[in-house]
Symmetry: C2
Subunit: 223 residues, 2 copies
DNA sequence: CAAGGAAATTTGGTATACCAAATTCTCTTC
DNA sequence: GAAGAGAATTTGGTATACCAAATTTCCTTG
């Protein structure tokens, strides 16, 4: 199989199963059983579960089986709220500290997104959008900031999967990206912060829609 | 011995050893040896090392012994930069969302600090100051925010230990705390944000001093 | 028939043993 | 004597076996 360490591979596998709905929210994740299913031992499975817990996909409980977390809208909103603050900070710092090359990298992602918007899968687009955000966080030249931001981003896997929608927002998204890049190029911190905040506000709105749709069509079986 | 799970106890023990200088930066943390020293097995030691890695005290390397991280000033500064952003956000949100009771809790910590400033140990004071900050993060009513903030705070163990100094700042610190509480009570988001930012800016300045002093008196033996 | 308790099973926590990759030391050879 | 190759040792990764706490089920008793 693929790349990376064994625990990471297991985490990837479990993540897919959770996101695809094979392991609905509330399902206990018993390290014994799942380890046996995948033909690995409990030790790496244990670490994999910790990884998923850090991402918020499973919920650890003392002296109890971890369970698959429920994707409450509030949590996603909270995540985005924090992420927005970090990205706004990133934008401001990037205006001060980023090299032109780093800004070029951000622009490159935006360009690629614009080029491939119509040919790409929706999930691919979300992925691209996320790497746009990641690039901004990196351009702030603060590794702690980039790392923290990336951790929050990782927690959005679930929303990312759900939000395989909204292809219609094309013009607005591309426009916002362009605005952000332009502000960074101009080293205009105020504008950059505003555009980033606006972009993420819209992301939240999109996700609200997705959750509304999801809630109406199928009520979860498990509390 | 004390409370908590075994890995946490081990992590606490290792953390103390690192902060006390028994394990200077650059020292490899071999899970076999340390496990034997503490009379525990490698499994919980492994997890303990991961905890310390998450706190930034040790540095994991692929296919290599983890080593005790060097407390570079830049890293601490980066941490505080991010923490400041989160706390400023917390202050703003707290003005909107916090209950009066939650603000009372913050005020209570500030009061206790004022009461005990002269009798308390410097480390205790730092601890109190930190719980003041933690209380603000909690008052924002965003668990993700509180959790992320707490994680950053945990990374400051080292700086916390070093900054067992600056007792002279008494008036300024207490004044800033009072300003923050007052702004929160008045639900004045702009003022609250400004005061929080100012408070953390001063914290950074203090730590600059500590690092300067530390660098001049003893140059680290290990790269 | 219901309620309480005890025993068995389930499950995570911990210890130990084995394995593979990487480093280092030594022996050989030029 | 230096350099390179190989072997042994070091070290983290993984598997397995054992243990203790908690839950659940079933039996007993009122």
């Amino acid at each position: 199989m693929g790349e990376g360490t064994l625990p990471e591979q297991i985490a990837t596998r479990l993540r897919r199963d959770i996101l695809r709905g094979l392991l609905p929210p509330g399902t206990p994740v018993k390290e014994r059983d799942h380890a046996a299913d995948l033909g690995v031992s409990r030790t790496p499975m244990r670490e994999a579960i910790r990884i998923l817990a850090k991402e918020g996909l499973v919920q650890l409980r003392p002296a109890r089986s971890p369970i698959v977390a429920k994707p409450s809208f509030e949590e996603v909103a909270n995540n985005i709220e924090v992420m927005a603050a970090l990205e706004v900070l990133s934008a401001r710092l990037a205006c001060q500290r980023a090299s032109d090359a780093e800004i070029d990298e951000i622009a490159e992602v935006a360009d690629r997104m614009e080029r491939d918007y119509d040919t790409f899968d929706r999930l691919d687009l979300f992925e691209l959008d996320m790497s746009f955000h990641r690039a901004i966080a990196r351009a702030a030249n603060n590794p702690v900031l980039a790392e923290t931001h990336a951790a929050l981003l990782a927690r959005l896997w679930r929303a990312r999967y759900l939000s395989a929608s909204r292809k219609r927002a094309r013009e607005r998204v591309l426009r916002q990206h362009a605005d952000i890049v332009a502000a960074l190029r101009a080293r205009d911190a105020v504008a950059a912060q505003a555009h980033v905040q606006a972009h993420l506000d819209h992301l939240l709105v999109n996700i609200v829609d997705v959750f509304d749709a999801d809630d109406t069509e199928n009520t979860p079986a498990v509390e």
